[in-house]
């Protein structure tokens, strides 16, 4: 659902302002929508509907949604430029933080449910298994982005430096797709779909940058 906030400002006396609309309607709805995948997972968990290997189901599910939120977040800028809906930039932070949220659940499901805090096995995994190495790296790189997502941190870092730091998300998304690709045993269809979407999103930026130059 996309609402043009300007449209609501036509009768300022009777209606809420676009800022209020964003804060009290759009963002809360989006917040709930972003939690729906998790709600579905919890629902299935409570109803013992996660299949024969629930731990694996949780791990794959949270991994899928991490990648999806990364791509959705990366779609914000192209969507804004292509459609002129400037409002989408106002929800980018929330989308990015949800990518981090699902990534954190993914890591927790691995460290807790899958390996049960067997740190020697976990360290060995990170060190020895390339798909885990890149996945772990991607998560480590996400942490500074989540920590610097507040307005205060943007101010403190300064717009330019903040932007440079947050361009890390391009690398993170690439590592995320590589992580999935290397995990698959033989049928690469699914990771390839993510790779194509990511290539389109990054390619769009490249073309935009070249045209501006």
């Amino acid at each position: 659902m996309v609402v043009n906030p300007q449209a609501l400002a036509v009768h300022p006396a009777r209606s809420i302002t676009s800022v209020q609309w964003l804060r009290w309607v759009i963002k809360p709805i989006l917040f709930v929508v972003c939690l729906l995948p998790l709600a579905g997972l919890v629902w299935d968990g409570v109803h013992e509907n996660l299949g024969a290997n629930p731990v694996e189901t949780i791990r794959l599910f949270t991994g899928d949604w991490t990648l999806r939120f990364l791509l959705i977040t990366l779609a914000v800028t192209p969507v804004r430029r292509l459609t002129g809906w400037n409002v989408v930039i106002r929800v980018r932070r929330m989308l990015g933080l949800f990518a981090f949220f699902y990534a954190a659940l993914h890591i927790i499901s691995y460290v807790w449910l899958d390996q049960f805090f067997m740190w020697d096995l976990i360290i060995e995994d990170v060190y020895k298994r390339p798909y885990i190495t890149v996945g772990f790296t991607a998560f480590m790189l996400l942490i500074p982005l989540a920590l610097t997502s507040t307005n205060g941190m943007v101010r403190r870092l300064g717009g330019k430096r903040w932007q440079r730091l947050h361009q890390l998300v391009y690398i993170i998304a690439i590592l995320g797709v590589v992580h999935f690709w290397w995990l698959v045993k033989s049928d690469i269809t699914e990771p390839l779909i993510y790779a194509i979407v990511l290539a389109l999103l990054l390619g769009y930026r490249l073309i935009w940058a070249l045209r501006k130059a």
């Binding site: 290997n53 731990v55 067997m118 033989s186």
Partner: protein, 324 residues
């Protein structure tokens, strides 16, 4: 075999759902009938042989582990059978349509009695046995399955392999119309079909090696490899090839599908070995499907999946890190 627990010991998560319970009841009743009944070979598979049909004349074998059985529902719904898709749930959805009758098995190569056998004739001379084996997947999960089958060694003797028969190669049905996973993928990247597996002749002759035709006292569901599959309990699951149409006796080590696809990950031997890691999974521990709690560490994987006493001698003097 049966472990009797006090009610207070049983967590609600351990209580078997009704369908499984009923299946188990039917199975136990059948087993009781069998124990008291005749053990005549010959009248084995029901004529239609559809999944879930009761198998008659099954003798309980001494080859059984005491581990708790993995519920029927999980054994038959969580399957790696890439001919029906790479999702664990796909085989249970897509395999039931496969036709398992008529079904021919070709016996070729270094044997005195080669030929093409109908599945029912192939099985007929033997008494079916029930064996409870651990199954360890290379993906670090495991199950405990009450298979019904016949020792492969007995079958092999009947074909009279000659002295050049050093290996047995197996092949799965190739039929993309019935096995959608064999269709060339949109982006390629699948396996080379038909699926091929192989054993050294002494592994094939080992008394633990089974040709499976059923589980839980019933005809094998298609997703579990009907009508005939291999069961080699001390090797990773992918060695136990499903829906077999060919056995070839050969002098050279045969090509096997996963080894061919990624030789650094899947060796010809693929014996369960906690000391030799797969590049993508530690093999030190495993999750027992349907039994281990979500909030518990995985259980340690045993050398040769716990069958070291029976099979370790097959590999005496071999460097198992090299011949993984």
């Amino acid at each position: 075999m049966l472990i009797i627990k006090k009610t207070s010991d049983i967590k609600s998560s351990e209580i078997t759902d009704k369908e499984v319970f009923l299946q188990r009841r039917r199975f136990l009743r059948a087993a009781a009938l069998v124990t008291g009944g005749a053990l005549a070979p010959g009248l084995i598979l029901p004529s239609s042989a559809s999944a879930g049909e009761k198998l008659a004349g099954v003798r309980k074998s001494a080859y059984r582990v005491d581990d708790k059985l993995t519920p029927y529902e999980y054994v038959t719904s969580y399957n790696n059978f890439y001919e029906f898709g790479t999702d664990k749930s796909s085989p249970a959805k897509l395999a039931p349509k496969m036709k398992t009758r008529p079904w021919k098995i070709a016996v070729e190569g270094e044997v005195n009695k080669p030929g093409v056998y109908d599945i029912d004739d192939f099985i007929k001379p033997y008494v079916l046995e029930e064996r409870v084996y651990r199954l360890r997947c290379v993906e670090a999960w495991s199950m405990v399955v009450p298979w019904v089958g016949i020792p492969l060694g007995d079958v092999i003797k009947r074909f009279e392999p000659n002295s050049r028969a050093k290996y047995v190669a197996f092949e799965t049905l190739y039929d993309p119309e019935q096995m959608p996973g064999q269709e060339p993928g949109l982006f390629g990247g699948g396996l080379d079909w038909p699926y091929q597996e192989g054993l050294r002749i002494d592994e094939a002759m080992h008394p633990l090696t089974l040709l499976g035709v059923g589980l839980y006292g019933e005809v094998l569901p298609n997703q579990n490899g009907a009508p005939l599959r291999l069961v080699v309990p001390w090797k990773y699951g992918f060695k136990s090839i499903k829906s077999i149409v060919k056995m070839r006796f050969v002098e050279q080590q045969p090509v096997t599908t996963w080894n061919n696809a990624a030789s650094s990950e899947y060796g010809f031997y693929s014996n369960v070995n906690p000391e030799v890691d797969h590049p993508r999974w530690s093999q030190k521990a495993e999750r027992r499907i349907g039994e281990d709690s979500w909030f518990a560490p995985k259980r340690p994987t045993l050398m040769f999946n716990g069958y070291a006493e029976q099979v370790a001698s097959l590999y005496a003097g071999m460097d198992l890190k090299k011949y993984y």
